[in-house]
């Protein structure tokens, strides 16, 4: 059925959480079906900035049809700067939800790590709200003491913090927290910068722990047609017929052993 289309969502609220980090709630049909780990493509209102900005879903309120994104403004004159200037009642074009979410069903009864780093922290919030598991250990890493979303994480499970400058929690990244505190898990879900995911993948594979990582890459279409946002796959991918998977369509969440990071 050719019935999917871009939607004109309405901004419900906009708030700055930390330097350059904004939280925006949208009234959108996408809220009804969105799952943790999926993303939406947001379009700027500037006709010269053509491409959608893929942004992970931080939280959904299905009953009221609202969806929240927490995103980083990447610089002046950027699309994300324009998003941050939108106010309640403004409209924004979007497409989504897109991609596949985290397979939360795998966590039933298990001791889990939910790990987020930097602008990979926000999707971990929705995951922490949706996941039903045994011991829920939320390990989030930040640059400095601006530990955005921390209060909300604390309502969902045990929270451990790492900061690059050591101002809060463990100095270093989320893997440093795991080592310092001697934490362990039977299943891992993670989103963050490539070096962090690489370290988590190595840790998980050394301990033979099931691990899901959410990747990102520059995108154009966001729906699997343009082949811009590929990652390397361990085995030949059945769709591409080469060792590439599409992050937007086949991911963004992958089993860590499926992909090279």
């Amino acid at each position: 059925m050719a019935d999917r289309k871009k939607e004109r969502a309405q901004v419900v609220s906009q708030e700055m959480l930390a330097d350059g980090i904004y939280s925006m709630w949208l009234q959108t049909e996408a809220a009804g079906t969105a799952r943790a780990g999926q993303f939406i493509s947001l379009y700027t209102n500037d006709a010269g900035k053509l491409l959608p900005r893929p942004i992970s879903i931080c939280e959904t309120a299905k009953e009221s049809g609202k969806l929240r994104v927490v995103y980083r403004v990447t610089g002046e004159n950027t699309g994300t700067r324009q998003f941050s200037e939108l106010k309640a009642g403004d409209r924004i074009d979007m497409l989504g939800p897109l991609g596949n979410g985290f397979p939360t069903g795998r966590a039933a009864g298990k001791k889990v790590f939910l790990m987020g780093g930097g602008i990979g922290v926000p999707p971990i919030l929705e995951l922490s709200r949706q996941i039903e598991c045994g011991k829920k250990q939320i390990i989030v890493g930040y640059r400095d003491s601006q530990t955005f979303l921390r209060d909300e994480f604390e309502q969902q499970g045990e929270v451990y913090i790492s900061t690059e400058d050591g101002s809060v929690g463990t100095r270093g990244n989320v893997m440093d927290t795991v080592k310092e505190l001697g934490l362990d898990a039977e299943i891992i879900y993670a989103c963050g910068p490539a070096p962090m995911l690489r370290a988590i993948k190595a840790y998980a594979e050394a301990g033979q722990i099931e691990c899901y990582v959410s990747l990102e890459e520059r995108m154009a279409c966001g729906i699997g047609a343009c082949l811009a946002c590929v990652c390397k796959s361990k085995e030949k991918d059945p769709h591409s017929n080469v060792h590439n998977k599409r992050i937007c369509k086949d991911g963004p969440v992958f089993l860590s052993t499926e992909v090279e990071i």
Binding site: C221, G224, A225, N241
Partner: protein, 300 residues
């Protein structure tokens, strides 16, 4: 009023297709676009064997457009014939298969393979700026372009469209060369080679360093090149390059294109191609044109 066009003997229901590489083989976009309402679907380039493409990042935005250096990642002709052609055949639209290769033999192998397949036209990509060998090597030298056209024409059972590069001194000369080689039509323009530098990281925005610029920013260049080509050859022209709305498409037709192709606009408005079909219809009604061909090349 009749929206149909005849491109090298193939009748499209309207003059609008989608540009190779922006639409996969249609499957992903079929959730957004009724493929049966397009004049034709032009597939992403396919080679004799699977190609992995370039490292990432493969795309970057530029103001009013974008750059890409995908590197012609494709699953190879075998899987393409098994999966993509049967998928597209379910829809009432024409199938144009874009063919890429690294040598004349590669191109001919794919063309020969497609001779036995139920597809309507072939578009030979001699203009991809993002692969080191092949592609553009044939698209910047008139003699090489003529030779490869002759070679593929020996094997082709479907009409052959040669896709031309704008990264040349005279696109008219290239068009004349492929016409002399026996091309049934030409399509233009492919992307313009560009470069973008990330000033904060002090590195190239694309892993490939250079990439092809597309989108509205290149539209006036494409219109000029379609016009020049229309003055130079008798074969039909499929015009493309930054078409984002019906007005852009009509400009191309008035400059000499018999049909048009929508590319980058698909990425930010999946409905763009169908809106353009309706927009051309509206223009024809407004100005009283009975057939699309009555408008082709009207501005001289």
């Amino acid at each position: 009023m009749d929206m149909q066009v005849n491109i090298a003997g193939v009748r499209w229901k309207n003059p609008v297709t989608v540009a190779s590489g922006t639409f996969g083989s249609g499957e992903e976009y079929s959730e957004f676009v009724e493929l049966g309402k397009l004049g034709a679907v032009t597939t992403k380039g396919v080679a004799n064997i699977p190609w992995p493409g370039n490292p990432t990042p493969r795309v970057a935005e530029v103001y009013g457009g974008m750059m890409n250096a995908i590197g012609l990642q494709n699953p190879g002709i075998d899987l393409f014939c098994k999966r993509d052609i049967p998928f597209l055949r379910k829809y009432d639209t024409k199938i144009i298969v874009n063919v890429c290769g690294k040598s004349v033999e590669d191109y001919c192998e794919v063309v020969q393979r497609l001779a036995g397949e139920d597809v309507d036209m072939l578009e030979i990509n001699i203009s991809c700026p993002n692969v080191k060998e092949g592609g553009i090597a044939f698209g910047q030298n008139p003699k090489a372009a003529e030779e490869i056209t002759k070679a593929v024409k020996k094997y082709a059972k479907q009409p052959v469209i040669m896709k031309l590069s704008p990264n040349v001194t005279s696109i008219a000369e290239m068009a004349r060369a492929v016409e002399a080689g026996g091309a049934d039509a030409v399509s233009l323009i492919n992307t313009l080679t560009g470069m973008k530098i990330d000033i904060h990281r002090r590195s190239f925005a694309l892993a490939n360093k250079t990439g092809g610029v597309s989108g509205p920013v290149i539209h006036p260049i494409a219109v000029r090149m379609v016009y020049e080509t229309a003055q130079a050859v008798q074969i039909p022209i499929i015009g493309m390059g930054g078409i984002a709305c019906a007005d852009d498409a009509i400009e191309m037709i008035l400059a000499g294109a018999s049909a048009v192709s929508v590319g980058t606009a698909n990425f930010y408005r999946p409905s763009a191609a169908l809106e353009i079909v309706e927009g051309i219809r509206g223009y024809m009604e407004k100005y009283g044109y009975e057939k699309v061909k009555d408008m082709v090349g009207l501005v001289k």
